[in-house]
Amino acid sequence: MEILDKLINIALVAATLRTTAPILLVALGGSFTTKAGIFNIGLEGQMLAGAFFAVLGSIWTGSALAGVACGVAAALAFALAFAVLVVTFRANEVVVGLALNILAGGMTISLMKAIFGTRGSIVGHGIVGLPKVQIPGAQALLGSWAPLISGFTPIVYVAFIAVPLLVLFYNRTRLGLYIRVVGEKPEAAEALGISITRVRYTASLLCGLLAGLAGAHLSLGYITMFTENMSSGRGFMAVAILIFSNGDPLKVLAGCLLFGFADAFSLRLQTFGFPSYLVLTVPYVVALAALFALSYRARPKIIRETLASMQKLLSTDRTSAPADKNPQ
């Protein structure tokens, strides 16, 4: 029990919020493209480029904010390339997404080598991390619960505030509505003179914006460094969440919290001396378990549908279905 107490406490919840933020941001970004009817597996690459250029920008300018801006700009460039290829030239989304992911991985490694002469990671060099926001009065108001709302970097707040904003965006704004229409029924959009191309470009760039923020959070948030393949599959987790949530902001939040918790929990386990390789598998095991659980729930439905369609087949064999003999 003592170990459990040490494992599960307010610090773990705070850590969960922290680790959820990057996945949440990138998944919310992906929500724009998902809702607009684009299957975007390029999230990983946009995030990685964002992380790398955020570090670079922060070193060059000495400002964390300028670093974030650099990271977002890089992710936007990737998102624009994605949109040009997928929307304008109608290339296959999966191929383009994969290609951009590979490009981001390779580019960050070679640029690291070219600029810093190192492989593996960039540490020091005067990277300026993001400040932590201490909410005044939080300590007095909540006491030991204060870490739940105070002491995060700005991007964490942005991520969680973005959830209700996106709900509002999809339900009450014209652009949000058009993104949904373009994804769900492009012919309807076309008939009403809504430009599918323009809406999809907008969705793709909004996605790049949030993915860039997510990347900047990785490299300038709690650790101020860049390592090879730093996004470590978060973009793909976001894709998995998007498939199951259909881009719904609230469902995205739920899925991201699950993964964020697994992430934080695995970090926590490491400090207890569990073998790190085993511990690092935790988020992925959770991902698999979640997918399994979801598909398990869907399974009886598949069986039901199969049975129903077989029954339909049998009833068209007229010898076995006297009920259908009645013409009226």
């Binding site: 509002l168 339900n171 009450r172 704004t173 014209r174 509505l177 949904r180 229409v181 769900e184 029924k185 012919e187 309807a188 008939a191 009403l192 003179g193 809504i194 068209t316 064999d317 007229r318 010898t319 259908d324 003999k325 009645n326 013409p327 009226q328």
Partner: protein
């Protein structure tokens, strides 16, 4: 061609909502609209009637700016207008309800109605105002819908109401409906007609496309008949009888001579007994059809398109379940078999829509002549296709059926309509089947190819095949058929001998004004 006699005042623009003058539209070599004049008075329900492919939808798409005419001009409310795109038409007070609805299932009715012109307050969409406005409009015109319901949960009939509301919200004063009743139940159709009358009562104009005689007679003030891309006439509905209307629709000029034939008295090959089937809306489409087809006999089925012929063909070929009745082919009941088993039983099918069911347009001629018999010698040996034999066989067919192509490796899509149809005939007629179901063999085919196809059908007759020929062209039936059965509203209204086809009698039966009990099965 100028206005037909009886059309409302040709040159005055007063009180005209829409005037089209000499509209011509060509698609490649095909002329969809050939110098069509149309004048629609304000405040009337104007029906445009004609068979499938008569050019109704093309004409309306031109009026609404979805297509640009090659020749001719458009006047809207008396002003000459270039309708460059639908936005121009909408601005001029036109609204179009298409055959295929374009609604977003996850959005509410009101959101769909206002999509593209949302009511906003402080930059946010004002759902409450949209719901209120939708409710008000739906009440005013008897278009009963719940504005807050999600569209994905609603029936097709209600979806159509939403499409009409969409048009109304955009301020339309002239509403074009393209085959609005095609997807409706009779009850829903009646409600739609009431709505249309309430539009006219408010001074609005309705243009209504249809190929159903009854509803045109019931609801319209004026009828314009189109046939083969030309206008036949514009007449007040009250001066017309159904019978006249049918004759204008299907035309009576005979372009084919009756084919000479030897009398043959073969055995009964196909015996259809009291066959019933439903259409895609689950409504009865074939209602108690009974007939026989003998070896060496061509039995024609006449009727205005959409009176159950398609469903009858689909039931016989195994593509649609029968809800009642039997169809015996050489001792087997086709209604219990699937398409492959039906073909094995000695049934060849030339489908009405050759591009959908007749050929694979991307495959070669050789591959298309193979389909359905790929598992048989000489086309395959021990489960492996013998492409040499297939190509050789296709080469023979290309020669004997006079298919104009470069070679058997040509993809079918490069051929003309007539030659594609010949590919289908070549495959189906060389299958050794005793029974041939031939549906609209010469639709969209040029005259030369039509003659060749007719000759081929007569050769099959002479070879002792039993042939059921479904056609909307009376002259084709008169040229080929030994007996003509007339279908109306899913029933076989009567039978006319082919060698003395009385077109007035056929026309009355096609219009449903001459009901005769269907012939009892032998």
């Amino acid at each position: 061609m100028s206005n037909a006699p009886g059309s409302p005042t040709p040159h005055s623009t007063v009180g005209m909502a829409v005037e089209l003058t000499a509209i011509t539209k060509r698609f490649g070599a095909f002329t969809a609209n050939d110098g069509i004049d149309l004048a629609v008075r304000r405040g009337e329900i104007h029906a445009i009637i004609g068979e499938n492919g008569a050019g109704k939808t093309t004409l309306m798409n031109i009026l609404f700016g979805l297509l640009q005419p090659d020749e001719g001009s458009i006047r809207l409310n008396g002003e000459t207008t270039v309708v460059a795109d639908p936005a121009v038409a909408i601005k001029a007070g036109l609204g179009m309800v298409h055959q295929h609805f374009k609604l977003v299932p996850s959005l509410s009715v009101a959101d769909n109605v206002f999509l593209g012109m949302e009511i906003r307050r402080h930059g946010l969409i004002d759902h409450a105002a949209q719901v209120a406005r939708t409710h008000e409009l739906s009440k005013r015109f008897g278009l009963h819908v719940d504005p807050t319901e999600r569209v994905g949960l609603l029936s097709v009939g209600i979806e159509q109401r939403i499409e009409i509301l969409k048009v109304l919200v955009r301020g339309a004063r002239t509403i074009i409906l393209d085959e609005p009743t095609a997807v409706l139940t009779p009850q829903e159709s009646r409600e739609l007609f009431q709505t249309l009358r309430s539009f006219v009562a408010e001074g609005m104009t309705v243009i209504f496309i249809s190929h159903h005689l009854e509803e045109v007679m019931e609801v319209s003030d004026t009828v314009t008949v189109l046939r083969n891309g030309r206008k036949v006439a514009t007449r007040p509905t009250s001066e017309l009888s159904k019978d006249e209307l049918v004759r204008m629709m299907v035309g009576r000029e005979v372009s084919f001579d009756r084919r000479p034939r030897a009398a043959l008295n073969g055995d009964v090959v196909l015996d259809v007994r009291d066959l019933w089937a439903r259409d895609d809306r689950r409504l009865p489409a074939v209602r108690g059809a009974s007939f026989t087809v003998r070896a060496g006999e061509v039995v024609g089925i006449a009727g205005v398109a959409g009176n159950g012929q398609t469903e009858l063909a689909e039931v016989l070929s195994g593509l649609r379940p029968a809800s009642h009745g039997e169809a015996w082919l050489k001792g087997r009941d086709l209604t219990t078999l699937g398409p492959a088993a039906i073909r094995e039983a000695g049934f060849a099918h030339v489908p009405g829509d050759r591009m959908v069911r007749g050929v694979d347009r991307n495959a070669s001629i050789a591959a298309n002549t193979l389909m359905g018999r790929q598992h048989r010698a000489p086309w395959s040996r021990s489960g492996v296709l013998d492409w040499k034999a297939i190509a050789a066989n296709a080469g023979t067919l290309i020669k004997s059926f006079d298919i104009r192509a470069q070679g058997s490796g040509d993809p079918v899509k490069r051929l003309s309509g007539g030659n594609i149809q010949k590919v289908v005939l070549a495959r189906e007629f060389t299958n050794g089947a005793d029974f041939l179901l031939i549906d609209q063999p010469t639709r969209g085919v040029d005259i030369g190819a039509q003659e060749a196809i007719h000759s081929e059908i007569m050769r099959q007759r002479a070879a002792g095949r039993a042939i059921l020929l479904i056609s909307v062209q009376l002259d084709e039936l008169a040229a080929l058929a030994d007996r003509i059965l007339v279908m109306f509203n899913g029933r076989i209204m009567g039978e006319v001998p082919g060698d003395n086809a009385d077109e007035d009698r056929i026309g009355m039966m096609m219009a449903g004004v001459l009901p005769e009990p269907a012939a009892e099965p032998v």
